[in-house]
Protein backbone atom coordinates (compact mmCIF):
# COMPACT_ATOMS: atom_id res chain seq x y z
CA UNK A 1 0.00 0.00 0.00
CA UNK A 2 2.80 2.36 0.99
CA UNK A 3 4.85 1.51 -2.12
CA UNK A 4 1.75 2.07 -4.25
CA UNK A 5 1.29 5.54 -2.73
CA UNK A 6 4.98 6.29 -3.24
CA UNK A 7 4.66 5.31 -6.88
CA UNK A 8 1.56 7.53 -7.21
CA UNK A 9 3.44 10.41 -5.64
CA UNK A 10 6.43 9.98 -7.98
CA UNK A 11 4.16 9.77 -11.04
CA UNK A 12 2.14 12.80 -9.88
CA UNK A 13 5.23 14.94 -9.32
CA UNK A 14 6.71 13.81 -12.64
CA UNK A 15 3.52 14.65 -14.52
CA UNK A 16 3.25 18.09 -12.87
CA UNK A 17 6.93 18.87 -13.54
CA UNK A 18 6.56 17.74 -17.17
CA UNK A 19 3.42 19.86 -17.59
CA UNK A 20 5.04 23.01 -16.22
CA UNK A 21 8.24 22.36 -18.20
CA UNK A 22 6.15 21.92 -21.34
CA UNK A 23 4.24 25.16 -20.70
CA UNK A 24 7.51 27.00 -19.92
CA UNK A 25 9.25 25.88 -23.13
CA UNK A 26 6.10 26.53 -25.16
CA UNK A 27 5.94 30.07 -23.77
CA UNK A 28 9.63 30.57 -24.52
CA UNK A 29 9.10 29.52 -28.12
CA UNK A 30 6.14 31.88 -28.39
CA UNK A 31 7.75 34.89 -26.73
CA UNK A 32 7.95 38.06 -28.78
CA UNK A 33 10.90 38.21 -31.07
CA UNK A 34 12.38 41.28 -32.53
CA UNK A 35 13.38 43.73 -33.64
CA UNK A 36 12.54 42.86 -37.22
CA UNK A 37 10.40 43.55 -40.26
CA UNK A 38 7.31 41.94 -41.69
CA UNK A 39 5.24 42.47 -44.80
CA UNK A 40 1.67 43.54 -44.14
CA UNK A 41 -1.05 42.93 -46.71
CA UNK A 42 -4.55 44.30 -46.22
CA UNK A 43 -7.24 42.85 -48.48
CA UNK A 44 -10.97 43.08 -48.99
CA UNK A 45 -13.30 40.08 -49.01
CA UNK A 46 -12.60 39.45 -52.71
CA UNK A 47 -8.92 39.03 -51.80
CA UNK A 48 -8.04 42.23 -53.67
CA UNK A 49 -5.00 43.88 -52.12
CA UNK A 50 -5.83 47.34 -50.80
CA UNK A 51 -2.53 47.98 -49.10
CA UNK A 52 0.89 46.34 -48.98
CA UNK A 53 3.81 47.59 -46.93
CA UNK A 54 6.86 46.38 -45.05
CA UNK A 55 6.72 47.45 -41.43
CA UNK A 56 9.37 47.34 -38.73
CA UNK A 57 8.73 46.19 -35.20
CA UNK A 58 10.75 46.48 -32.02
CA UNK A 59 11.28 43.88 -29.35
CA UNK A 60 8.15 43.31 -27.30
CA UNK A 61 5.78 44.89 -29.82
CA UNK A 62 2.59 43.06 -30.69
CA UNK A 63 0.86 43.17 -34.07
CA UNK A 64 -1.69 45.49 -32.48
CA UNK A 65 1.08 47.88 -31.37
CA UNK A 66 2.49 48.03 -34.91
CA UNK A 67 -0.93 48.59 -36.51
CA UNK A 68 -1.76 51.26 -33.94
CA UNK A 69 1.48 53.08 -34.81
CA UNK A 70 0.84 53.20 -38.56
CA UNK A 71 -2.94 53.27 -39.02
CA UNK A 72 -6.15 54.62 -37.52
CA UNK A 73 -7.87 51.64 -35.93
CA UNK A 74 -11.48 51.06 -35.00
CA UNK A 75 -11.82 48.45 -32.27
CA UNK A 76 -14.81 46.66 -30.81
CA UNK A 77 -16.32 48.12 -27.67
CA UNK A 78 -17.53 45.85 -24.89
CA UNK A 79 -20.84 45.59 -26.78
CA UNK A 80 -19.01 45.00 -30.08
CA UNK A 81 -19.91 48.45 -31.42
CA UNK A 82 -17.24 50.45 -33.30
CA UNK A 83 -14.93 52.29 -30.93
CA UNK A 84 -12.18 54.49 -32.49
CA UNK A 85 -10.57 55.00 -29.07
CA UNK A 86 -9.85 51.28 -28.67
CA UNK A 87 -10.42 51.59 -24.95
CA UNK A 88 -12.18 48.26 -24.40
CA UNK A 89 -10.22 45.10 -23.73
CA UNK A 90 -11.22 41.46 -23.90
CA UNK A 91 -9.60 38.85 -21.73
CA UNK A 92 -8.05 36.08 -23.79
CA UNK A 93 -6.22 32.93 -22.75
CA UNK A 94 -2.86 32.91 -24.53
CA UNK A 95 0.18 30.70 -23.84
CA UNK A 96 -1.06 29.60 -20.45
CA UNK A 97 -1.95 33.05 -19.16
CA UNK A 98 -4.64 35.64 -19.75
CA UNK A 99 -4.01 38.83 -21.68
CA UNK A 100 -6.12 41.93 -22.22
CA UNK A 101 -6.60 41.80 -25.97
CA UNK A 102 -8.25 44.05 -28.53
CA UNK A 103 -10.63 43.17 -31.33
CA UNK A 104 -10.05 45.27 -34.44
CA UNK A 105 -13.11 46.00 -36.57
CA UNK A 106 -11.59 48.49 -39.00
CA UNK A 107 -8.27 49.83 -40.31
CA UNK A 108 -7.84 53.14 -42.08
CA UNK A 109 -4.72 54.23 -43.90
CA UNK A 110 -4.01 57.18 -46.15
CA UNK A 111 -5.22 55.40 -49.28
CA UNK A 112 -7.55 52.67 -48.04
CA UNK A 113 -10.12 51.75 -45.43
CA UNK A 114 -11.57 48.42 -44.36
CA UNK A 115 -14.44 48.15 -41.91
CA UNK A 116 -16.28 45.12 -40.52
CA UNK A 117 -19.28 44.82 -38.23
CA UNK A 118 -18.39 41.60 -36.34
CA UNK A 119 -21.88 40.18 -37.05
CA UNK A 120 -21.53 39.62 -40.79
CA UNK A 121 -17.85 40.28 -41.39
CA UNK A 122 -14.62 40.30 -39.39
CA UNK A 123 -10.93 40.87 -39.98
CA UNK A 124 -9.07 37.58 -40.24
CA UNK A 125 -5.33 37.54 -39.58
CA UNK A 126 -3.43 35.16 -41.83
CA UNK A 127 0.22 34.29 -42.22
CA UNK A 128 1.86 33.24 -45.49
CA UNK A 129 3.35 29.76 -45.21
CA UNK A 130 4.35 27.17 -47.79
CA UNK A 131 2.80 29.02 -50.69
CA UNK A 132 -0.56 29.89 -49.14
CA UNK A 133 -2.16 31.93 -46.40
CA UNK A 134 -2.99 30.15 -43.15
CA UNK A 135 -5.22 31.55 -40.43
CA UNK A 136 -3.23 32.45 -37.33
CA UNK A 137 -4.34 30.81 -34.13
CA UNK A 138 -3.98 34.02 -32.12
CA UNK A 139 -5.32 37.56 -32.27
CA UNK A 140 -3.59 40.89 -32.74
CA UNK A 141 -2.26 41.00 -29.19
CA UNK A 142 -1.28 37.37 -28.82
CA UNK A 143 0.34 36.73 -32.20
CA UNK A 144 4.14 36.51 -32.14
CA UNK A 145 5.69 38.62 -34.88
CA UNK A 146 8.57 36.99 -36.73
CA UNK A 147 11.19 38.73 -38.82
CA UNK A 148 10.66 38.38 -42.55
CA UNK A 149 7.16 36.91 -42.58
CA UNK A 150 4.11 38.11 -44.48
CA UNK A 151 0.85 38.79 -42.67
CA UNK A 152 -2.46 39.37 -44.43
CA UNK A 153 -5.43 41.01 -42.75
CA UNK A 154 -8.47 40.21 -44.82
CA UNK A 155 -12.15 41.06 -44.57
CA UNK A 156 -13.92 37.73 -44.08
CA UNK A 157 -17.61 36.86 -44.14
CA UNK A 158 -19.02 35.15 -41.06
CA UNK A 159 -20.27 31.68 -41.91
CA UNK A 160 -23.92 31.76 -42.98
CA UNK A 161 -23.94 35.33 -44.33
Amino acid sequence: MRSNNTLKLIVTLSVIILLFAGIYFYEQSQSLSGPGEFELVIANENEEILHQETLAFDEGMSLYDVLRTHFALTCASNTYDPDPTCSASFRFFVNGSTIDGKIILGIEGETFEVMTDWDRTYLAIEVYQNGSYRLTTKGVNGYTLKDGERIRIIVTKVSGW
Partner: protein, 177 residues
Protein backbone atom coordinates in the same frame (compact mmCIF):
# COMPACT_ATOMS: atom_id res chain seq x y z
CA UNK B 1 -45.54 -5.44 -1.12
CA UNK B 2 -43.15 -6.32 -3.94
CA UNK B 3 -44.65 -3.55 -6.09
CA UNK B 4 -44.14 -1.04 -3.25
CA UNK B 5 -40.54 -2.14 -3.00
CA UNK B 6 -39.95 -1.54 -6.68
CA UNK B 7 -41.65 1.86 -6.51
CA UNK B 8 -39.57 2.85 -3.51
CA UNK B 9 -36.45 1.76 -5.35
CA UNK B 10 -37.43 3.84 -8.36
CA UNK B 11 -38.05 6.91 -6.18
CA UNK B 12 -34.69 6.36 -4.54
CA UNK B 13 -33.07 5.99 -7.98
CA UNK B 14 -34.55 9.27 -9.17
CA UNK B 15 -33.45 11.07 -6.00
CA UNK B 16 -29.97 9.59 -6.31
CA UNK B 17 -29.66 10.64 -9.97
CA UNK B 18 -30.70 14.18 -9.05
CA UNK B 19 -28.24 14.42 -6.16
CA UNK B 20 -25.29 13.00 -8.12
CA UNK B 21 -26.09 15.23 -11.11
CA UNK B 22 -26.13 18.20 -8.73
CA UNK B 23 -22.69 17.21 -7.41
CA UNK B 24 -21.42 16.94 -10.98
CA UNK B 25 -22.85 20.34 -11.90
CA UNK B 26 -21.65 22.11 -8.73
CA UNK B 27 -18.04 20.94 -9.02
CA UNK B 28 -17.87 21.87 -12.71
CA UNK B 29 -19.14 25.40 -12.00
CA UNK B 30 -16.86 25.75 -8.96
CA UNK B 31 -13.79 24.81 -11.00
CA UNK B 32 -14.72 26.53 -14.25
CA UNK B 33 -12.35 29.43 -13.56
CA UNK B 34 -9.50 27.02 -14.41
CA UNK B 35 -9.79 26.07 -18.10
CA UNK B 36 -10.39 22.35 -18.62
CA UNK B 37 -9.77 21.39 -15.01
CA UNK B 38 -12.66 19.62 -13.28
CA UNK B 39 -13.64 16.36 -11.65
CA UNK B 40 -16.34 15.70 -14.24
CA UNK B 41 -14.62 12.80 -16.03
CA UNK B 42 -13.52 11.31 -12.70
CA UNK B 43 -17.07 11.47 -11.28
CA UNK B 44 -18.67 10.01 -14.42
CA UNK B 45 -16.16 7.14 -14.33
CA UNK B 46 -16.94 6.60 -10.66
CA UNK B 47 -20.69 6.72 -11.27
CA UNK B 48 -20.38 4.26 -14.16
CA UNK B 49 -18.52 1.76 -12.06
CA UNK B 50 -20.93 2.10 -9.11
CA UNK B 51 -24.31 2.68 -10.79
CA UNK B 52 -23.92 1.20 -14.24
CA UNK B 53 -24.62 2.50 -17.71
CA UNK B 54 -28.30 3.54 -17.51
CA UNK B 55 -28.22 5.67 -14.37
CA UNK B 56 -24.91 7.28 -15.29
CA UNK B 57 -26.27 8.19 -18.73
CA UNK B 58 -29.28 9.84 -17.07
CA UNK B 59 -26.97 11.77 -14.73
CA UNK B 60 -24.95 12.95 -17.73
CA UNK B 61 -28.09 14.09 -19.58
CA UNK B 62 -29.28 16.06 -16.52
CA UNK B 63 -25.79 17.51 -16.09
CA UNK B 64 -25.53 18.69 -19.70
CA UNK B 65 -29.00 20.30 -19.57
CA UNK B 66 -28.24 21.96 -16.22
CA UNK B 67 -24.86 23.24 -17.37
CA UNK B 68 -26.39 24.83 -20.45
CA UNK B 69 -29.42 26.29 -18.71
CA UNK B 70 -28.09 27.29 -15.31
CA UNK B 71 -24.40 28.03 -15.69
CA UNK B 72 -23.65 31.58 -14.51
CA UNK B 73 -21.09 31.78 -17.33
CA UNK B 74 -23.82 31.26 -19.91
CA UNK B 75 -24.54 28.34 -22.20
CA UNK B 76 -22.10 26.93 -24.67
CA UNK B 77 -22.92 27.41 -28.34
CA UNK B 78 -26.16 25.47 -28.99
CA UNK B 79 -24.36 23.70 -31.83
CA UNK B 80 -21.85 22.35 -29.32
CA UNK B 81 -24.43 20.80 -26.98
CA UNK B 82 -24.61 17.49 -28.92
CA UNK B 83 -20.79 17.28 -28.88
CA UNK B 84 -20.81 17.85 -25.12
CA UNK B 85 -23.52 15.25 -24.58
CA UNK B 86 -21.89 12.62 -26.80
CA UNK B 87 -18.49 13.37 -25.26
CA UNK B 88 -19.63 12.73 -21.68
CA UNK B 89 -21.86 9.77 -22.58
CA UNK B 90 -18.85 8.19 -24.23
CA UNK B 91 -17.47 7.40 -20.75
CA UNK B 92 -20.31 5.07 -19.66
CA UNK B 93 -20.50 3.66 -23.20
CA UNK B 94 -16.80 2.78 -23.33
CA UNK B 95 -16.61 1.56 -19.74
CA UNK B 96 -19.63 -0.68 -20.30
CA UNK B 97 -18.38 -2.17 -23.56
CA UNK B 98 -14.76 -2.01 -24.75
CA UNK B 99 -13.32 -1.32 -21.30
CA UNK B 100 -15.84 -3.36 -19.34
CA UNK B 101 -13.13 -5.14 -17.39
CA UNK B 102 -11.02 -2.07 -16.74
CA UNK B 103 -11.17 -1.67 -12.97
CA UNK B 104 -7.63 -0.94 -11.78
CA UNK B 105 -6.93 2.61 -10.67
CA UNK B 106 -3.92 2.87 -13.00
CA UNK B 107 -5.90 1.65 -15.96
CA UNK B 108 -8.78 4.04 -15.24
CA UNK B 109 -6.30 6.90 -14.75
CA UNK B 110 -4.81 6.25 -18.19
CA UNK B 111 -8.34 6.00 -19.61
CA UNK B 112 -9.08 9.43 -18.06
CA UNK B 113 -5.89 10.86 -19.54
CA UNK B 114 -6.68 9.76 -23.10
CA UNK B 115 -10.32 10.70 -22.67
CA UNK B 116 -9.18 14.31 -22.19
CA UNK B 117 -8.08 14.30 -25.83
CA UNK B 118 -11.08 12.35 -27.12
CA UNK B 119 -13.50 14.77 -25.43
CA UNK B 120 -11.77 17.70 -27.14
CA UNK B 121 -11.98 15.98 -30.52
CA UNK B 122 -15.76 15.62 -30.13
CA UNK B 123 -16.05 19.37 -30.79
CA UNK B 124 -14.00 19.26 -34.01
CA UNK B 125 -16.76 18.22 -36.49
CA UNK B 126 -19.13 21.05 -35.53
CA UNK B 127 -16.31 23.60 -35.32
CA UNK B 128 -14.84 22.63 -38.70
CA UNK B 129 -17.90 21.76 -40.78
CA UNK B 130 -20.52 24.14 -39.35
CA UNK B 131 -18.50 27.04 -37.94
CA UNK B 132 -15.87 26.98 -40.71
CA UNK B 133 -12.91 27.00 -38.32
CA UNK B 134 -9.84 25.56 -40.12
CA UNK B 135 -9.16 22.02 -38.90
CA UNK B 136 -5.41 22.23 -38.31
CA UNK B 137 -5.55 25.57 -36.47
CA UNK B 138 -8.37 24.33 -34.22
CA UNK B 139 -6.65 20.99 -33.61
CA UNK B 140 -3.32 22.58 -32.68
CA UNK B 141 -4.80 25.29 -30.47
CA UNK B 142 -6.93 22.79 -28.59
CA UNK B 143 -4.09 20.34 -27.87
CA UNK B 144 -2.79 22.25 -24.84
CA UNK B 145 -6.31 22.36 -23.34
CA UNK B 146 -6.79 18.65 -24.06
CA UNK B 147 -3.46 17.93 -22.36
CA UNK B 148 -4.53 19.94 -19.29
CA UNK B 149 -7.82 18.04 -19.16
CA UNK B 150 -6.05 14.70 -19.64
CA UNK B 151 -3.58 15.37 -16.81
CA UNK B 152 -6.25 16.68 -14.43
CA UNK B 153 -8.37 13.57 -15.17
CA UNK B 154 -5.35 11.32 -14.65
CA UNK B 155 -4.41 12.83 -11.28
CA UNK B 156 -7.99 13.06 -10.01
CA UNK B 157 -8.65 9.39 -10.76
CA UNK B 158 -5.24 8.26 -9.49
CA UNK B 159 -5.73 9.86 -6.07
CA UNK B 160 -9.48 9.98 -5.53
CA UNK B 161 -10.95 6.95 -7.28
CA UNK B 162 -10.18 4.30 -4.64
CA UNK B 163 -11.22 6.27 -1.52
CA UNK B 164 -14.31 7.73 -3.24
CA UNK B 165 -15.31 4.32 -4.64
CA UNK B 166 -15.04 2.81 -1.16
CA UNK B 167 -16.95 5.68 0.46
CA UNK B 168 -19.72 5.92 -2.13
CA UNK B 169 -20.29 2.16 -2.42
CA UNK B 170 -20.69 2.03 1.37
CA UNK B 171 -23.18 4.94 1.26
CA UNK B 172 -25.10 3.36 -1.63
CA UNK B 173 -25.34 0.10 0.24
CA UNK B 174 -26.89 1.91 3.24
CA UNK B 175 -29.11 4.02 0.97
CA UNK B 176 -30.71 1.02 -0.75
CA UNK B 177 -31.14 -1.02 2.44
Amino acid sequence: MVEMGIKTKHVKDVALIAVLAAVLFAQQIALSFIPNVSFTAFLIILYTRLLGFKKTTMIVVVHVIATNLLSPFGPVLPLHIPSMLIGWILIPVLLSTVFKNLNSVWGLSLFGFFFGFVYGWMFIPVSVFLLDIPFMEYFLMDLIFELIMGISNFLAILWLYEPMHKFLSHQLHKYYQ
